[in-house]
Amino acid sequence: MSDIKIQPSATGSATVTLTAPVTNTARTITFPDSTSTLLASDGSAANLTAIPAGNITGTLPALSAANLTAIPAGNLTGTVADARISALTSSKLTGTLPAISAANLTNVPKDITVGGRKNMVINGAMQVAQRGTSETGYTTTGYYTCDRWHHDKAAATGTFTQTQEADAPDGFKNSLKINCTTAGSSGDYNAIQTKLESQDTAHLAYGTSSAKSVTLSFWVKVSQTGTMQFNLIHHADAGSRQISYLYTISAANTWEKKTVTFPGDTVRVGDDDSTQGFYLEWFLSSYGGRTGSAVQTSWGAYNNPARFEGATIMIGDSTSDTWQITGVQLEVGSTATDFEGRSYGEELSLCERYYHRHKANIAGAGICAGTIYSTTAAAAAYRYPTIMRGNPTLSYSAVGDFRVLYTTTKVVTAIDGIETVSGVRLWFTSSGMTAGNGMMIDANNPNCWLAFDAEL
């Protein structure tokens, strides 16, 4: 039997009392089998050191962890669930991004995701007008002022003046304006168009299940209110296709922005060359031949009688009629993004694939050089600034605006050309020249110009 010994303190003076609890049940207190000191029950637990980890079990109380400070960063491992990422300060967002694919970055605004050139239309802001800024009194089809913009019309649909205007909505500096000066009375077609090469639309995957949507946006200002019709024509050797959009002019003589998305055409495979692919067409009037068939608001076969069917406005049946456009953009996708502004130099270079005009501007300006072939003919090479879409048509100011310059000068009396996509051999006719001499063609006056036209 073990004994119980109560040992008084030899130096203390107070009395220690062992007190029984208020109970009717017999209790037994068993002391540990070791030499130690009993802990006070209401202490700080400061003496609870070296508790084996295996003995710390059970459920933690619902503490806030506010006092869990100075935790070593290396001990913060595992998965962060619902962390307060939104509260991160920007100064903590440093370091190198991991090589993730960004495949899950959805709903990112298109303006951020679209790289490179997005506007398929050239000179959509009407910046470039190599031919001139005004053409008055024309009745026939032609390119008159702003590069790449074509007025396709039957003569009887009216007489027009076309101008490159400084009037434009905010964000633009120019617009194309047509103004009827003699009212039309008949004629099938009267439309403003711009045309794209088929090889520049091939990426739309037309004729496949992956055919891409395109979105058109433009600003328009018209002298009367009502409905007008736009047609997107997909020109293809296997058969052209057509889809249309009716746009409303809500207020007269007021700039209005219009946008429309066209689905991809899964039926017709596009061509892939330098011939016509798309042409974008704002129809202005028709006195027959372009009406009588329902407007095609989904892709269908090219259909002449549907090209003006939905319009209620005629531009050209009154001399008070004006129609104005700028900010034309055609882009892949179903969102109309901000207009892609390009520098004048960029836009000019794009235009020069289709039209290039060399203006002398001053008398004596050198144009090209070559040799005198005979007493009446001098040959010279002229290289365009860029490769043209096809062999271009050569036109020129009055032949007397050109001189053959060598040890003397001879005024030119005729000009001929052998045109290729990269340059032209020019023949200049004069008289009394000395064969075998080198020569330069220069400007006899500031009005001298040469032009090369490979428009669609």
């Binding site: 011939t275 003919a377 096809g390 062999n391 048509t393 050569l394 001929d416 050309g417 045109e419 669609l456």
Partner: protein
């Protein structure tokens, strides 16, 4: 296009037909014999329609 005075032109050194000279909408032009040239295409159309003829080269 209003096309008048269309005439074939020979290259001076080879004597081969190289282009057509014509006045189109009042502007004198040299038109290559290329089917993807819009002026040449229009000349061919108007010739086919019987509206114009192209004079032989000198």
């Amino acid at each position: 296009m209003i096309i008048i005075n269309a005439k074939y032109i020979k290259n001076i050194d080879t004597e081969n037909i190289s282009s057509i000279k014509a006045t189109i909408d009042g502007q004198e032009m040299s038109i290559p014999l290329s089917e993807d040239n819009r002026h040449y295409a229009e000349i061919l159309k108007q010739v086919a329609d019987g509206d114009i003829t192209i004079a032989e080269a000198d």
